[in-house]
Amino acid sequence: MKDIKIEVNKLSLYYGEKLALNEISMQIPRNKVTALIGPSGCGKSTFLRSINRMNDLIPDVKITGEMLVEGVNIYDKNVDVVNIRKKIGMVFQKSNPFPKSIYENIAYGPKINGIKDKKQLDEIVETSLRQAAIWDEVKDRLGDSAMGLSGGQQQRLCIARTLAVSPDIVLMDEPASALDPISTSKIEELVHQLKEQYTIIIVTHNMQQAARTSDYTAFFYLGELIEMDKTKSIFTKPSKKQTEDYITGRFG
């Protein structure tokens, strides 16, 4: 773990009075897939959403500690939250394409970043869709509504939309939880390809998925980070009892 992209130092998060994350400290490596696992309500999604400050949208959230991305604390007062989100993209659990055409969905991000040139937009749309492995399926109907796509296609479209703003880090919140097995395997394949370019953090409740796709795995339980290690080690010889109980299916 030499090449560190994100370093978290004693990050705690409160919803009002309630402690949701308790002094999380971890290091996330560059150009690798890191999986966050744990039983539901353990704080893994909350943690993921605090990496691009989506939790800012919820009233009464208080955060302490540091989240250093390339050495910059993104919770610093002088840091611009909008610019952070441009560099840290997010794919949500439920696919959420805009009720616009496929083309407009992808072009949305570049457009708000001020790209107006039609040629450049066309190019970005094509590369993003190719990267998300959906280009061949939609290239003939870019003008159709994105709402007409299947669930799996919609989710890959959302991934393409995220890539179109050229982020450094891609956060994925259970991206395949609502999909059929074939779509799921496509997404997993995609995650595998994308890590060459991006640092990927993926939340999943599916342990096989974590084992298949990730390089590192972090186990969360009751708002605390129990342990984090290479995925192989976690699944073969976890150092903590709770981790072992969880991955062997004794609770969760």
């Binding site: 910059v72 993003s128 050229s166 450094d168």
Partner: protein, 393 residues
């Protein structure tokens, strides 16, 4: 791929530095500012309606105003003090003589309201203003004392502004209207929310709410032309236009409000309440009457209050259907005059700054304060009650 990542910037303090975005800043300020206008309007309404009635409170101010009017006689244009000669045109007060208006209209090239008005203005004000000053001065001392009398004679030699007479009229019509609208609205809401099938509800609700789309002038017209005659034939009373006709017509205006709010309140009663009752073996009507209805009482109370507010301030219906005579009688089959109708029918006949004008604005302030109070009561009472209910009694 490289073309897609034109920005080489990554995470540096520089690239992530907080940016000031003018559009964001302006959007937020403008949007909050516009939202503030809603509050401002409420204040402005009160201030400006009340302001016009201020001369009633300070006699010195009244004198000042009349003095302005006197000076304005020399150059009537400077301070557009409207005179009675102007009124028929500006406020569109109907005159008996239609041909007279046609005559005015023939000289179209002239600005409508002016034409001959300017000439008459000088004549009119010279004669009239001193008179106003006198009546004001005389009336001033009396104005307040006449408020509590039962006589409403605003344009006599010795004007009397007996608000009691108007209050009686307003209360009479309101009570009659609520006697019809209250039970009908609530019962219909109860049927819709508890007994009707889902399909029936989908039809009944929008149809009854369509009644809210009836302009009050249409209801007033219907009352004047059809209902008045119908009720007269039915009951055989003397005055064709009276409190009863007006009250029934106003019930039609109040029903959709009472119905909609009660229905919402009844539908908002948690299913667990009714299910528990039904599980205990209570029948549907018992559940509706002993469980759903009591649980929705705060909402229904609010509905009734807002219904009263609607009726209390309604103008066009009373103007058209009640006969507009300020009599002091408890008989529902005699003409009445309400606060709102008085403003509606007499404002056009008053002169800016005159006592009568101020009194009408004063009545307006009363109506505003009353409706404001009713709404506040409905809102806070209901909220308080509901919170108590949810948190357990």
């Amino acid at each position: 791929m490289s073309s897609q990542n034109p920005t080489t910037f990554s995470f540096t303090k520089e690239s992530l530095k907080k940016q000031f975005r003018w559009s964001e800043f302006l959007a937020e300020k403008i949007i909050s500012g516009v939202a503030f206008l809603s509050i401002a309007i409420i204040f402005l309404i009160f201030i400006f309606v009340f302001k016009e009635s201020l001369p009633l409170f300070s006699s010195s101010k009244t004198v000042e105003k009349t003095e302005i009017q006197v000076t304005s006689t020399t150059q009537p244009e400077t301070y557009g003090a409207p005179t009675e000669d102007l009124e028929p045109e500006t406020y569109g007060t109907p005159t008996e003589d239609l041909t007279a208006i046609d005559v005015v209209e023939t000289n179209e090239l002239e600005p409508e309201t002016y034409g001959e008005a300017v000439e008459e203005l000088t004549v009119g004000t010279e004669e009239e203003t001193p008179k106003i000053t006198e009546t004001n001065k005389e009336g001033k001392n009396n104005t307040w004392s006449t408020f509590l009398s039962c006589e409403w004679f605003p344009v006599s030699e010795n004007p009397r502004f007996g608000l009691i007479a108007l209050l009686i009229g307003t209360l009479k019509v309101t009570i009659i209207a609520m006697l019809f609208a209250g039970p009908l609205g609530v019962l219909a809401a109860l049927y819709t929310s508890t007994f009707a099938s889902k399909r029936a509800k989908e039809i009944i609700k929008p149809v009854i709410e369509l009644l809210a789309a009836f302009p009050s002038v249409v209801i007033g017209f219907f009352a004047l032309m059809i209902m008045a005659t119908f009720f007269q034939n039915l009951f055989g009373y003397e005055t064709r236009l009276n409190a009863f006709v007006g009250g029934v017509a106003m019930a039609l205006a109040a029903i959709p409000i009472i119905y909609t709010i009660s229905e919402d309140a009844l539908s908002a009663v948690p299913k667990t309440y009714t299910e528990a009752s039904l599980a205990l073996g209570a029948s549907k009507w018992q559940t509706a009457f002993f469980v759903t209805l009591p649980a929705a009482i705060p909402g229904i109370f609010a509905a009734i209050l807002l219904g009263i507010g609607r009726v209390f301030g309604e103008t066009m219906i009373v103007l058209m259907a009640t006969g507009n005579a300020a009599l002091n009688s408890a008989n529902p089959f005699e003409s009445v005059r309400t606060f709102a109708a008085t403003i509606g029918s007499e404002m056009a006949e008053t002169v800016f700054g005159e006592t009568h004008y101020s009194v009408l604005f004063f009545i307006g302030s009363l109506l505003f304060v009353f409706s404001f109070g009713l709404n506040a009561l409905a809102e806070f009472y209901v909220k308080g009650k509901l919170i108590k209910k949810i948190q357990g009694k």
